[in-house]
């Protein structure tokens, strides 16, 4: 039986797709056979972030409707042999996903995969509800910002009441907090919620802090999940997060701003001035 992970947040633009790409890649890097499903029907984007957009032939809805087999629709990752992507459909039909259809696909994937990562769309509409419905684990992607934290709390409520595990009365979905776009310098200045603040409010275990980083945009520009970049702080932070998810103990990094010497301070100021 596969472990089903939903990557969700409620709010849009917090980094769900970036995180889904990174999480599924990190699992595959560690030798786990992983499938990642894009649930954002009509707004397919995971394929772009994973760099396989030109190899998409069939999609999730084609499989549900029986127009293609799962094997035909799964796109094999070019870099990681254990990683497969099931792209979202670009249909505008709101009811393209059915709970029975999603269950059939997940059941079939469960037979051969170790992990199934469900990339949820934003909001609490049908697509988001279905992405979380069959989950065993939920990774809640949150920015240190009021609207994101509030929406994450709302999602936690829905996870605890509307998902299959909740309805069947089984043990609840395991929740994991992933704090993204974290800027330790602004936290130190008191202009951004700290990791402790967010944890105080949401009260779920933290699996990682992803620092705000230029490498995330660079990675999506080239269609390479940021976790593959060993030189990137965000990439390393995602590797750490998945190690923790799998039960390893790793100290949190990027919590505190690095102390800059006066020379570096001057230097970075100059650099900013030049780019402005």
């Amino acid at each position: 039986m596969a472990n089903i992970i939903v990557v969700t947040s409620g709010k849009g633009g917090v980094g769900k797709t970036t995180s889904s790409a990174a999480i599924s890649s990190a699992l595959a890097m560690r030798g786990h056979k992983t499938a990642v499903i894009d649930f954002d029907i009509g707004l397919r984007n995971l394929d772009l972030i994973m760099g396989c957009e030109r190899r998409v032939v069939y999609d999730f809805v084609n499989v549900i409707n029986g127009d293609a087999t799962l094997k035909q629709a799964l796109v094999k990752d070019k870099r990681l042999p254990n990683l497969f992507i099931l792209p979202a459909s670009q249909t505008r039909d709101k009811d393209a996903l059915t709970l029975e259809g999603v269950e059939r696909v997940i059941d079939e994937l469960s037979k051969t995969f170790d992990y199934i990562v469900c990339d949820s769309p934003a909001g609490i509409e049908a697509g988001a509800m279905m992405a979380m419905h069959f989950a065993d684990h939920a990774i809640i992607v949150t920015n240190p910002e009021v609207s994101s934290v509030r929406d994450s709390d709302r999602i936690l409520g829905i996870l605890a009441s509307k998902t299959k595990r909740a309805i069947d009365g089984r043990s609840p979905i395991k929740e994991h907090l992933l704090l993204t776009r974290y800027d330790p310098e602004r936290v130190m200045k008191g202009d951004m919620l700290s990791v402790d603040d967010v944890q105080d409010i949401l009260a779920i275990p933290l699996i990682g802090i992803i620092p705000e980083s230029a490498s995330v945009l660079k990675a999506s520009n080239t269609g390479t999940p940021v976790v593959l970049d060993d030189n990137s702080d965000a990439g390393i932070a995602y590797q750490d997060a998945i190690a923790r998810f799998l039960g390893e103990e790793r100290p949190m990094r990027f919590v505190n701003a690095e102390r800059k010497g006066i020379l570096r301070r001057l230097f970075s100021k100059n650099k900013e001035g030049m780019t402005a």
Binding site: E145, V146, V149, R150, D153, G157, G190, D191, L193, S194
Partner: protein, 98 residues
């Protein structure tokens, strides 16, 4: 606001204001989260029945469902009776003429 209050307000980091606001709104929303979907409608209908007899405001009726230990729950109905309503029961005719 005094000048000291003004200065203190300005110096308070925005992150702590954010945290405070979040704690308040989230605890409020969590309290509402576990209530059944029919509760607002129930409140509306109870209000309509009461309004037939007593002139009453919307916010004077509070319906809440508290989960007690185990399998039971307590449906609490809290109605603040307006003073005029009590007065009319004592002297209905005078009130009607007024």
């Amino acid at each position: 606001m005094s000048i000291f209050g003004y200065l203190r307000k300005r110096n308070e980091p925005s992150a702590s204001i954010a945290k405070e606001r979040l704690q308040i709104i989230i605890s409020h929303e969590r309290a509402q989260r576990n209530t059944p979907d029919y509760l607002p409608k129930l409140q509306e209908e109870i209000l309509a029945v009461i309004a037939k007899y007593i002139p009453i405001d919307r916010d004077q009726v509070v319906v809440s469902l508290d989960r007690a230990n185990g399998n039971s729950a307590v449906l609490e109905l809290n109605i603040t009776m307006p003073e005029e309503a009590l007065a009319t029961t004592e002297e209905p005719k005078e009130k009607a003429n007024a």
